[in-house]
Symmetry: C2
Subunit: 243 residues, 2 copies
Amino acid sequence: MPGCFADRLGDFIEVTQRERTALDRLEERPRSLKRGAALVRENDAHSELFLLTDGMMMSSVLLRDGSRQILRFYYPGDLLGQTVLAYRESPETIVAQAESVVCPIDKAAMSELFCDHPRLAGLITAMTEIERVTLGDRLAEVGRSSAHARVAALLLGIRQRMRGADRDIGDSFAVGLTQEEMGDATGLTAVHVNRMLRTLQRDGLIARDGNRLTILDEAAMIRTANFVDRLDGIDLSWLPAAR
Amino acid sequence: MPGCFADRLGDFIEVTQRERTALDRLEERPRSLKRGAALVRENDAHSELFLLTDGMMMSSVLLRDGSRQILRFYYPGDLLGQTVLAYRESPETIVAQAESVVCPIDKAAMSELFCDHPRLAGLITAMTEIERVTLGDRLAEVGRSSAHARVAALLLGIRQRMRGADRDIGDSFAVGLTQEEMGDATGLTAVHVNRMLRTLQRDGLIARDGNRLTILDEAAMIRTANFVDRLDGIDLSWLPAAR
DNA sequence: CGCAAATTTGAACGTAGTCAACAAGTGTGG
DNA sequence: CCACACTTGTTGACTACGTTCAAATTTGCG
């Protein structure tokens, strides 16, 4: 998995040799995590961010009444725990959703990167911005659309993320979430997620087999989900020249 | 209002003279906007970001069924339209919620800033991260809490933002939103926002007089809102040295 | 194979939405 | 300066989407 981050950034810009060297240095000390293991816990002090090189992880927050909101799922090439760039204690919990491998990145390394590679700094800022916009879409989805739409959007979103990490993902893929987790991601109960999945299935939009899911009618899914691909229409022409 | 942005950043770090000069240059061409005027429209091409120096603005997205989700409110010192750093077309609409003044910042100026002032670049990244975390709180709020809690959280959030721009804001302030807008921000209907405001009032947590609102029992408000102050616990020690 | 976790279904309930009517402001033009 | 139109706020009655609770069934793991 070395070069994983450089590869991801390579989807957006031409990474120079010098930049690639700097990026690869961030991926030196891989650590593997068992399914369910917490990488960072809400309100715990933290001091590094991480690069996910393999597996699947998620971040969430807990409310006082015990309910949980899942904020995001991460796939290889994603940066985890960027909150360390702003907070002493983590505002979110980050857990391995499947067997995973991460590489810790010291804050000091980030500082160096910002000084030596302004173009990469700009790119990381732009990617953070893409995340922010995506989170805004999620907010609109949870605030303003039906349970149907939310579940459809979740499924499309997951597939899109998976594709970002692995180009070969087609219409059929393993979701890797329980219905309880889907509920915590969409602001629904597990029971209601189940009902929505079944109606999507009944209406021929999806098919399911075990934990494997197939999108049968992508157009209808996109329509019912109000889905917008936020990796479309990207423009990074403002970035400074590579050093 | 010159020095507005430098002042805001000054809440987080000691801004050097050289940095202040660079920042002040961003605020050169003020433009004023009437209440209700759109600065950027969803799906329109855009090429600059803006600094809000006076007034109040908001960003929102529209869903196909016509409903709207308000993503954020902006107060003096806030940066608007950072989406231009990633997208050719704006994913959100930005509108003046009150008479406002903004200063356009060309993307090229951002590029220069990233090259010449890595510390400020890091700070801007950190502030974007704070926004991202705040948006995550909003998601948890809308996804996992009651209408009561959401309205209380909205009111506390607005007061906190106002305080960021003006230290003198106390327990009593003009919200500056219709109940319809409060609904679009919290994912509720105007009618239900009204009911929630009235019960908060009946229970003695708030008082209202015209568009003026007073927080009577802050502790109870924070409790019912599940409110967390995300400007607390900030740690920017990783930032590179000023140039 | 056996157990625990996850899924599925039904029934009753409740929170928030919808619809409708009215009251109270607010601003504009005659 | 008032009259009128329009927006915003308030309330009630009814509806519906999603939750809760409970139990049965399936799945998958040790």
